[in-house]
Amino acid sequence: MPDRLRRLLSGPASLGYAVLTATAVTYLLVYTTNLGHLPTSFDYLSILNTTLPLVFVAIGQSLVVITGGIDLSVGGIVAFCVAVTATRVHGSGLTPFAWLLAILALGTACGAVNGVIVARARIAPILTTLATLSIFSGLALWVLPVPGGSIPSGVRMVLTNPTVPTGLIWLSLAVLGWLVLRRTRFGMRVYAVGSDETSAVAIGVPAARIKIAVYALSGLCSALAAVFYVSTTTAGDANAGGPFILTSIASVVVGGVAFSGGRGSALGAMAGAVALTLVIDVIFFAGIDPLYQSLFQGLFLVVAVLLGTGAALIARARRGAL
């Protein structure tokens, strides 16, 4: 077990963990100095519930980035699924949950469309997903032209209960899901395709199918994010997806996933997502002038990435003696 822990901490996600720890410690410090007491369960719970959607999108994004691609359409898929969730999920008992499954299927299908275009039509991921981003965002506006809609409180109690940390269950399931995925043959092949697609094809990895599946999974993650988004905010907004594009990519970067593909872990991206949320709180309690908040958020990103690059360079220098 200690060995496993050691591997976890020295693995590809360690940058994400380091950054998360640093921000968490800073958060505790500024919070305590500012308010004179440690954060309360209310703070933890609200951090958890607001982060969940980003955590899911970051998982999907990291999968795509590990294959050497990028998914800009997460914004569109989140928006589309938010719109559908806020307008269609009604009723009581199990009906709303059946609807939620349908929405997850919808997100997966949207992602698969990306995958097919990228893998079969061989159009660059950035172009493909930029185009589908517009399409999905358009669909979202069509479904929900004005912000609104609602979500049955039953769903809310199960997904993001405002008093009980049900979100923890879903977060653990997400971690577990990743660990399982990593232990499938598919998981290994995802890394193979991202590391060197030509070689992967040469040794018989069905690269196209892997990519389609990965983009579909990213779509599924976006749909999950959408469901949790509506659950925390209790309503929908067709513009809800936009911020997730940049923040998910930032999470992936902070999480230490290599943009050249083949290296990194969704766990790192998840840690990155939580860290990005905590940074907002740190900036808040540090009393940084509102005008410079985005400047500081940007600086945080740059520093995190520089740290990651520095660590990679040191690691390579140590190995370089070969």
């Binding site: 232990r183 043959r185 890394y191 590391s195 040469a202 040794i203 003696a321 070969l322």
Partner: protein, 510 residues
Amino acid sequence: MVLTEKSEMQVMAIEASGVDRAFGGVQALRGASFAARPAEIHALAGENGAGKSTLIKVLCGVITADRGKVEIFGQQVRRVVEPAARRGLGVATAFQELSLIPDLTVAENLLLHSPPRGRLGLVRRGRLVPEAEAILHRYGVDYIDSRLTAAELSVAHRQVVELVRVLATEPRVLILDEPTAALPDKQVEWLSGHMRRLRDAGTCVIFTSHRWREIEALADRVTVMRNGTHVATRENLSEAEAVTLMSGRTFEGTYPDVTTIATGETALRVSDLRGGRLQGVSFSMRQGEILGVGGLAGQGQRDLFLTLFGAQRAAAGNLEVGGFPVTLRRPRDAIRAGLGIAYVPEDRKAEGLFLPLSIRDNIALATLARRSSGGLVSRGREAQAVASLVGQLRIGAGRSTSQAVGNLSGGNQQKVLMARWLLTDAQVLLLFDVTRGVDAATKRDIFDLIAQLAAQGKAILFYSSETEEIAHLCHRVLVLREGRVAVELDGPVRDAERIVAASLKEVPGA
């Protein structure tokens, strides 16, 4: 038993006929045909650019032919067949451009297709390393750490893993493209053993090599290719015959005459150089001298070259070029300082060449600064300089210099790399294993060029994984051992055994 063997002999293990294939504007194969029987070792020979690699890719299904058909055990494979499906037919291929996944560990690379599964069909990651170690042990290569990523391995070890990956499938048709190019002699023997074992068990083994003695030693039959077509398939073929068949030309000696001793001034003086594996290397070389660097693999040869090129920092030591002390922090320093050190990297695919760029751009890259005025590159002057070099080196058989380098064969790519550094008017040339994976005729061109450059007064530091070449081409040979110059031999040594013997002396455990 005899009967079945006979009937199997009727059916070819793998057969290609009338295969055409073009890349961009380059026709790599024109009506190529090839056939190999079960239970034979079949060598595929030809100059660089003859179409061997392309043919192999068509055989194993990585690329599809524009025209023609491929049959495996008499069964025609459909036009579009992924390598995955050919694996099902018992065809396994080790590629020249290594197909290991760089970021995966050795264990993951070996077990990518059939990882150990536990309950629920999940991969048991804990079992990956033990199983991979079992495989490595079975093939007698325990010295490879299965926990390292492929990118962390040396080129030679990567090649070994690549071969083990293929061998471990116990294929019915085994295709090896330049399997020995990156291998030291010991591993070549190891591979030969496995090739023979598989042949005896009925496998059809196809391989390509530029080392004639390997073909002679291993192959039951040889097929020679030239310009993308089949020239001949013979059971007995002498080297001279083969070279004539491959090139359409005839050759006298393989090596140029280097008996004349250089008498120029000191071009490069190295004293007590340390860093990496170097434990204090000192030597000097004169203008017009070809100085060989020999020794067993991994005695610091690579570090010496990288340090002199400025790609690796020296921990200590002094360097004088043309009598002036210099400090090298990065390759640009080396190029700039007027000392003109040129280095041809070992792994063409990984470092050095920009495959999508043209021959001209690749060659001109190192000297852009000198031929540009006000930041603009003068296309005219550049084209002129490049054209003369391309002619001199016979690059790409008269193809346009605007052709993308990625479309060239391996040997021609190597020439492009050399040409790039020749254009810098370098006074000291560092040539590190420039003949690796290069065919006999191209080697001959490169050797001639080296001799010619030396005659022009350039100082040349030469390393090759083929000790034979160091023995014949160099005026003087430094034998490195454990990061130091152990012995200095006057050349031409001619007998490679002398260098090998010098390398082994006093090595503990040898």
